[in-house]
Amino acid sequence: MAMPSLQLSEKKPDKLRALGVLALNGMFDEMDAIGVLRQAVEDILPGDIAIVSSFGADSSVLLHLVAQVDKALPVYFLETGKHFAQTLDYVETLRERLGLSNVITLRPNPKDVARFDPNGNLWETDPDSCCHIRKTEPLDPAVAQFGGWVTGRKRYQTVERGVLPHFELTSDDRIKVNPLAYFSDADVNAYKLKHNLPEHPLFDMGFKSIGCAPCTSAVAEGEDPRSGRWRGLNKKECGIHFDFNGAIAKPMTAANTNLFKDGAFVADPFRAWTEGDDPATVRYTHVPLAVFLANRAAFLANPHPQGLLVSPGDNVELIEGDVSRFSSIAINFPAFTDGRGYSSARLLVERFGFTGEVRAVGDVLADQIPLMRRCGITAFVVVNEPTKQALKDGALAEVGLFYQPVGITEVPVGTRPYLRRAV
């Protein structure tokens, strides 16, 4: 081809190069994925291009194309430490099956993890930062070595990707190659079938787009396949894909900062159960107790993090044996005057030994929160503004001395160990 690779690998903005990239986009048939890839690897960026693969549900198609073009092409895999075990298995499966000889595993900097995510729950409190330390940071030095990248992105995957071309110029003047840009879901499946490619073990369980375990849920038939990622959050990209105009995808802003936990308002990975959710595949929802019981087997077989919604009148005894299944239990206080939730919370925490998050939802007001805390509730979904402010300011008016032993953390003070407790 006419374009010398040396020139293209220079990392400087150049209008002409941009025009060149635009020109490239007209060269290939929409479905000629292998033509696009071969052009990039052999002619445009020889020795200066690599691929990042998530080894997700449809990664096999692109890797199969790579194997046909150059089995030694560097394939980077971000081992975030948060993957499903099945994904790690799948890396090995594909590597062996396709004969890829240069799969490189990138890991987050342990110091960053220790500093920013000591408890391993950053995904929950601040998914943006989690992506940053586990994906963006490790990938940056690798990106710097290459003039171009191959991605497996497809137009159909999300609305934002609807205009994805075969070749893109990024804001830092690299070329992104998207051989599968025009592939539809059906095309991907047909390709996999045609070449008898192994499926990701989770694919048949409803996972169409697979990322880190905590932030991936199954999607329903016909649903946008990526809608299972960062479900419930206004987050679509993890920051390592650059958008069409070259700007880095906007950092996610938490869709909902009403969740007060561990002393701060944080992003809430959970959403409420809605009619039509599939018990077998749903994740990060607070499933009403009755719904859980009606579909108990399906929920128990569902591998994703699950929540439970306990409303007044619900008998928590009915899920006593299943409490460990839930990562969060929401106690509903439809009106602050309805105190049944206090008993529910105590039974869950004190009697059934539930150790996950217990959150109060509904009519959660400043003056009830101290009582809720004593009954074992650790998180609060608050919409009342004065209450939010009081929580932010740490200005809840409360009595810090207790006469009754309640909850599991209250420690004895004074001379009446069976009765008196202080914070």
Partner: protein, 552 residues
């Protein structure tokens, strides 16, 4: 008496400052009335017809002189110079200003008092026998356990938003002077086969629009398990009590609708889980609290009898007072004295600041600094030397509190009614005033003998009308007031609910109607020794119905 230690004091101080903060937030507009109402109610602050009303807890009805003086100070400084003792052994002030309430609460805290949980859907002030620790018929002095229950129930996080209010009453004597069978939980001292003391637990009693006599849910609960057992009842009630209709939200309805056996099974199941756990009350702890209620330093006196007949001749008013206002004391040479707050033409239960000061002085000099409030809206000097009775009497005479009418027809229980209360549907104080005037004659009252009239100004029955030998309930009818009369109620261990015998009466007809009932009783009693309630039980309602409505 119980004395606060650092912990109790700090607890009340924190609670006072918490409510102070809430009051300021309310005034600043950060809290809406809907949000503030339950908070102020849990601190005893109501909004009544004319003004706020602050209800102050008198735990199990026990007061020291210092506390009574503080109540007098509050009456004088923040109110209109008087307070009203209630049927729940509390005191309430009718005219406080919202801004003053934090200061009033701080004043109360300085004498180990508070208004915590005197309202709201929580466990209210624990009430008991006004003669606790003094009466000669007592199995257990209930005060130490009452104090422990006070502590256990104070700001209990699980039971602060119950379906409805919750009242616990206890008596250490088989002669129930605390109406325990008409409380959500009634505790009656009991002995088991081994001679150990513990508690009979009665549940589901209550008055209001659906009067119910409590049912025995457990015939013997040991002291050590009492908190666990009560917590079990509370949890069952909190979880399963009705919340769809506030008139059906009391535990009595739960027990009635589900049946005692069902509730008992649920309570037992819960008890099996919590029994022996953290709420187990060690004997040493009960002993430690009981030490606060140790007998005062009584003088060793020989048993002496008050010669009432002689005194009656010498001074009929004094003799009459001796005859009716004394209660037998366990300590030889001592008696308990009832101070009547039922003067002719007065509002039952009211005491002025001057009267309170005088009572405090008498308690200090003659009753080891101690005073009790009765659920019948009187006061008691629990430990008075027989030799001091005359001095006490003279002190009372000087302050217009020497009525010798305890237990007589003019010793009327009466709620504030529509003159003060926002919930009332009719006035009740004017009815009580008229009745005391009608039966003003001491001789006539003595002749009638023991007769309890109880008046409520609405169906909520704060005036306990259902359990009056004669009960009067004021209702609204066509913009006016109408009074239903019930007969045959009894709040004691012989519990019964009075019956309505026919249509209601206009206010001005009530005194004559009551007089006809009294006359019917006198005409038919076996002897002067057969009291009204006994005659009613023997005769049935027919003669009384006829007395009220004629022979139609």
């Amino acid at each position: 008496m119980y004395r606060y230690d650092e912990f109790d004091a700090a607890f009340v101080r924190e609670r006072t400052s918490q409510f102070s903060d809430q009051v300021h937030r309310r005034i600043a507009g950060d809290l809406t009335e809907d949000q503030f109402r339950p908070l102020r109610l849990m601190n005893g602050l109501y909004l009544q017809l004319h003004a706020y009303m602050l209800r102050i807890a008198v735990p199990y009805g026990t007061l020291s002189s210092k506390q009574v003086r503080m109540l007098a100070h509050i009456a004088r400084t923040y109110d209109r110079g008087y307070g009203h003792f209630t049927t729940r052994q509390n005191i309430q002030f009718n005219w406080p200003k919202l801004r003053d309430v934090p200061e009033i609460l701080a004043d109360l805290a300085s004498v180990e008092m508070h208004a915590i949980q005197t309202s709201g859907n929580c466990i209210r002030n624990i009430t008991t026998d006004q003669f606790a620790g003094a009466a000669d018929d007592e199995i257990i002095d209930p005060r130490p356990v009452a104090e422990i229950l006070r502590q256990w129930s104070s700001l209990h996080p699980e039971f602060s938003y119950l379906p409805r209010k919750f009242k616990i009453a206890m008596t250490g004597s088989p002669n129930d002077r605390a109406a325990i069978r008409f409380h959500d939980i009634g505790l009656q001292a009991a002995r088991n086969g081994a001679g150990e003391t513990g508690w009979e637990v009665w549940v589901g009693g209550g008055l209001g629009r659906t009067p119910m006599i409590g049912k025995l849910i457990n015939s013997f609960v040991r002291h050590e398990h009492l908190l666990s057992y009560l917590e079990s009842i509370m949890r069952v009630y909190n979880r399963y009590g009705r919340r769809d209709n506030k008139y059906k939200a009391r535990i009595k309805i739960l027990v009635h609708e589900e049946g005692l056996e069902t509730i008992k099974a649920q309570v037992e199941q819960e008890f099996a889980e919590v029994r022996g756990g953290r709420l187990t009350l060690p004997g040493e702890e009960l002993d430690r609290i009981a030490a606060y209620f140790a007998e005062p330093a009584y003088e060793r006196l020989t048993a002496s009898v008050v010669d009432v007949p002689r005194e009656k001749i010498l001074n009929p008013a004094y003799g009459n007072w001796l005859e009716h206002n004394l209660n037998a004391h366990r300590q030889p040479g001592y008696v308990s004295v009832t101070i009547s707050l039922k003067p002719v033409g007065g509002a039952p239960g009211d005491a002025t600041d001057t009267q309170m000061e005088a009572i405090a002085d008498l308690a200090e000099r003659y009753s080891f600094d101690e005073l009790r409030v009765t659920h019948e809206q009187n006061l008691v000097l629990p430990h008075v030397r027989i030799a001091d009775l005359r001095a006490v009497y003279d002190g009372l005479v000087a302050n217009n509190m020497a009525d010798g009418n305890a237990g007589l027809i003019s010793d009327i229980i009466c709620c504030p009614g529509m003159d003060y209360c926002a919930l009332a549907t009719a006035r009740s104080i004017p009815i009580a005033q008229e009745l005391t005037r009608k039966f003003e004659s001491e001789a006539r009252q003595r002749d009638i003998g023991g007769l309890k009239i109880k008046i409520s100004g609405c169906i909520n029955a704060c005036g306990h009308h259902h359990v009056g030998h004669i009960g009067i309930l004021g209702v609204e009818k066509k913009g006016g007031e109408l009074y239903q009369i019930t007969v045959g109620g009894d709040a004691t261990e012989n519990a019964s609910v009075g019956k309505i015998l026919g249509p209601g009466f206009e206010a001005e007809e009530v005194p004559n109607a009551i007089e006809r009932l009294v006359d019917a009783y006198i005409a038919r009693r076996v002897s002067v020794d057969e009291p009204f309630i006994a005659a009613f039980r023997r005769l049935g309602e027919a003669p009384f119905k006829e007395a009220l409505y004629g022979n139609a």
